[in-house]
Point group: C2
């Protein structure tokens, strides 16, 4: 008995993006928009490539498979993308940019205490990897298939993303909110936990992304050594 009907939010973060305080002056995008996930809306050729890469990996996928899946001939596919590598790079950019945009929006959207920002970032990471699992999985697992400067750019984007979390954890340790004698490993462990969601979570499984985010929010607080009563 796991998927009980009653949906309850066990962390304060779950209430943060509720629609009540929608009108905030100066915000470019609507409050809480970082946790709205409409269907992916990838261009058809990219969607086909993503599905193929998920099944067989980048090197295990042929350009003919992608074309067939997209309902195109091989030259028809090449009308939209100049190479197989370009498909992978476009998917990778899509993943890294969407995660970054949502993460920075989540951090800006609401109370600014360390714990509030931590909760929102964890929620953002978990929701993203649940809703955009395939995109995130390819971006993570096909790094070594990126050629030339694309690989360095991916790693830079990943480090920038990782710095968001480790910065917050360092802050929390400094202010005594977190008890983490080794912040680097703590940060790495939490990141791994959240990105790992993309490896096993199924959107049609027992948990909704929001339920999962609640549970992971609690787990990550524990892992970070958050003060018990907060």
């Amino acid at each position: 008995m796991v998927g009980q009907g009653a949906r309850q939010s066990t962390t304060p973060a779950a209430a943060v993006g509720a629609a009540k305080d929608a009108a905030r002056p100066g915000a470019a995008s609507a409050a809480g928009a970082w946790q709205d996930f409409s269907p992916p809306a990838l261009r058809p050729a990219l969607a086909a490539a993503l599905a193929c890469f998920m099944e067989n990996g980048y090197h295990g996928t042929t350009i003919r498979q992608v074309a067939t899946r997209a309902g195109l001939s091989v030259p028809g596919l090449y009308h939209h993308f100049p190479s197989k590598q370009a498909l992978l790079v476009a998917l990778d950019d899509e993943a890294m940019n969407e995660l970054w945009n949502r993460s920075t929006a989540a951090l800006a959207d609401g109370p600014q205490s360390v714990l509030d920002r931590f909760d929102r970032l964890i929620r953002c990471l978990t929701l993203f990897h649940a809703h955009r699992g395939e995109l995130a999985f390819i971006a993570l697992s096909e790094i070594r298939s990126l050629e030339g400067s694309a690989r360095a750019e991916h790693i830079a984007a990943r480090d920038r993303q990782q710095a968001l979390l480790s910065g917050i954890i360092d802050e929390g340790v400094a202010t005594g909110i977190f008890d983490a004698p080794h912040p680097r490993e703590t940060s790495r462990a939490i990141t791994t936990m959240c990105t790992g969601v993309a490896q096993w979570y199924r959107i049609d499984g027992e948990l909704t992304p929001e339920e999962l985010a609640d549970r992971y929010g609690r787990l990550c607080r524990l892992t970070a050594g958050a003060a018990a009563g907060s």
Copy 2:
């Protein structure tokens, strides 16, 4: 600044396999042998394949690259392994079997309280993924490159392995040692943390595997909601 000289063990598990009774040749399995990691000792062709797969993935590696790396011609390589797929399967078996053997040995070797077994299993997982990172990484990331029954066998081995940890967590929740309202997610998160070590840990980095295992032991206890004073 980070790799301080003083090596301290922060969990009881760290003391279990102290070096005194390390090498007992001839014994079926000496106490603590599950945490002794001598150099991998893969057959040359397998070692070459592992290095190639790490760099370019299974589908991105050619049989000629493996042969060259092994110091063999292509037919020379095929004298030892009948196909490219057989190389991957052999590496996968090596990884899954070694982890299973070490894990069951760790569980049997020492005090049998839930927390003792939890600590030893976490230590075993962390040490394995630190010392055998490449092997573990390939076994994890090339599942979809396994053909035919090999994939099903890998998944069965993985589930069996995963059950070791989730069984202990269920026990701990039942006896009140762990505070985990959602044991399935807790177990999954901890597994992900430990296997994730293979993705970033470098043996020549700042931390020794033993230091890392100490830190991860503490983190995993926190994540599992282990009672504070234990």
